[in-house]
Symmetry: C2
Subunit: 435 residues, 2 copies
Amino acid sequence: MIEKRKPIKVEQALKRVFDYARYGSIEYVSIEDSYGRYLGEDLVATHDVPFFNRSPYDGYAIRACDTVNASRDHPIEFKVIGEIGAGSVFDGVVGEHEAVRIMTGAQIPDGADCVIMLELVTEIGQHMIEIKRKVKQGENISFIGEDTKKGTVLAPKGTYVNPGDVALLATFGYKQVPVSSKPKIGIIATGSELLDVDQPLEPGKIRNSNTYMIMAQVKRAGGEPIYFGQFEDDFQTCFEQVKNTLEQVDFLITTGGVSVGDYDYLPEIYEKLGADVLFNKIAMRPGSVTTVAVKDEKLLFGLSGNPSACYVGCELFVKPIIRKFLHNRNPVLKRAQAVLGQDFPKANPFDRFVRSYLNFDGSQLYVYPVGLDKSNIVSSLAGANVLLVLPGGTRGFKKGMKVDVLLLEDQEGAPLDTFLAGFKNLNRGDSDEVI
Amino acid sequence: MIEKRKPIKVEQALKRVFDYARYGSIEYVSIEDSYGRYLGEDLVATHDVPFFNRSPYDGYAIRACDTVNASRDHPIEFKVIGEIGAGSVFDGVVGEHEAVRIMTGAQIPDGADCVIMLELVTEIGQHMIEIKRKVKQGENISFIGEDTKKGTVLAPKGTYVNPGDVALLATFGYKQVPVSSKPKIGIIATGSELLDVDQPLEPGKIRNSNTYMIMAQVKRAGGEPIYFGQFEDDFQTCFEQVKNTLEQVDFLITTGGVSVGDYDYLPEIYEKLGADVLFNKIAMRPGSVTTVAVKDEKLLFGLSGNPSACYVGCELFVKPIIRKFLHNRNPVLKRAQAVLGQDFPKANPFDRFVRSYLNFDGSQLYVYPVGLDKSNIVSSLAGANVLLVLPGGTRGFKKGMKVDVLLLEDQEGAPLDTFLAGFKNLNRGDSDEVI
């Protein structure tokens, strides 16, 4: 007897998973190690920028009132009473018809209220310059707080730290940076056909590629993967393994073992654990057997053993829950629209997520499925930078149609609501009900 | 006297830099650590995929000739003589009107030449099934090498290792992965106005943000940044510092000190080193003072001290040389076309690289400059995901115009030739000569 499972839609599945989101705590890393982490607190301007009135150019700091009558025909002379390199401060006060040579970024000296650029000045002898135009009060001065006011939130908690953010952290004195702790994601592989990567091939067996692939996907998403090895053949041992692993991690991923085949232990393990199965069939291809259960508020992701189903399940359900853990506001894959670059004639009642390559041609995005989208073919995973979304229904898809794609390498992401709305707008061939 | 420098075009500058590219050697990392590195050798299929004839479905392995007369009205009975789980092998031979239950992925038993899917079979008693249709020879068998032939190059040397590549590495037994060694990039900061990140602010000074920003940019590009501290005030000490650092690294970056100001030591240091200055002025904004010199075949990048000029110089010149070192075939920033989202009225004789945000609206790309593009404003760096390219000339730019953008967070990159050709196609307002 084959158990009959009722499929739910992708967006319903994701909503259920998000009900069990967990959140990271704050830990501190040195600024050198902050790139690629996620902020654990808002990044706040700890002082005004500029912190002092400064010169944006090389030039001379003077009093504007002394230039009122200056013109090409009527140059006015100034005595140069000193100079200020960047980082140093002028001790005196600039008086009538006096000038101080000032470098870019240096502090405006007392008494001066404007700067004239070097190019507009004529040196007419040692310590004497001539000015041939009027300069306004405040001209060429970057004033305190003009760029950024103290207390401004420059990047919210949960922001992915890019090189520009690192510059901000340095500017505002964050030697130690508060970042979100990474979720610990346990991984257990199932499948008696699996050899480890360093074992020689034998008849009937394949090497375990899913585990290493998922470890990389978890890292890309911002989590910390921990591999707990493969299932043993014995049910009780497998049960103990899941139970013990779950206590040591924030989320658990298993690969394989979630179908209804004779060797698929996971459904029975969920039952014995007393875990609540949120769903065990999703109206999507590949990965319809993707199962998610909850035990003591912890999510157990039961991904398919097929490489591309496993990949897609990880991107659609695990990645968002990792980004959410990191307090990121845009935890879900970002969606874009593209033009389908080739026919995709075969209809499917389930939504399809086809590993594809997104290309720019002029200002238009084009998307091409990479390789055959059989779920057992690993080689087509490598060239994919998007998942092409083909809504379930009774139609095929023609070259030139507008289609949705989900970006895989993007760091920006999208909010859950936007992502869910995207599915509402999908032109599914069937009614709102999944068959 | 202000030294007069002759500016060269961005693409000429890049071409000169590429003449001094250096290349990494091979090192081995465990597959768990291979994500995000660059392949040091071609990734080759070390065996056929599949490695044996296998079943893509759950079903029964039979002989096609036994089904020739099967039909709805004339079901044919088969005796089930065994079953094969994934990973195990059937010892016997499938004979006339015999069937072996087979799981997805398992090896086709001897004697059988096709598989009938589970759903098309009726169990009619213990160890007996009934088949009501003809099955062709080879039907539902994934044959040896059907997916990938042994010896196929699946990813060339220099490829950025993404999660799909990791799956391939595991499949083909790469427990240790040959990757390119990372270039060691030395960084020295200059500027007497600079405080370190943990120092309290004082009048006239700012914290050193460029160093930490560049360290993150170097990491993003795939290199290994090493910070050698700030210049001392004394020329001879600075000279020794550059000389000694250069011996320990593959490339050296300095920030600041390349203008023609009174405190800018770099030009003099290049001279004393006997370094060959490739250029010291580029027809671009920001970063026109960007200087590159060569000493003993090693590149010295003299980036501007202004945060955004420093950022742009690093992306345009340092990043490509890092990717080249990693044997990557697409070492330069990838270019796309977008619609300008707002007016940019001010013309400039130099090409501008404006930190901007690229957004998708429908299938159309739109680009918006982030913040004011003053080179001393650090806060606008954080929101940028592209550099907007505005060709030099006498015109401004209007909302709605098609413009080029260079992608900052993209891992794909572009070949040098494509990048250079992009500049040829730029509609520069001036003649081919830079003023």
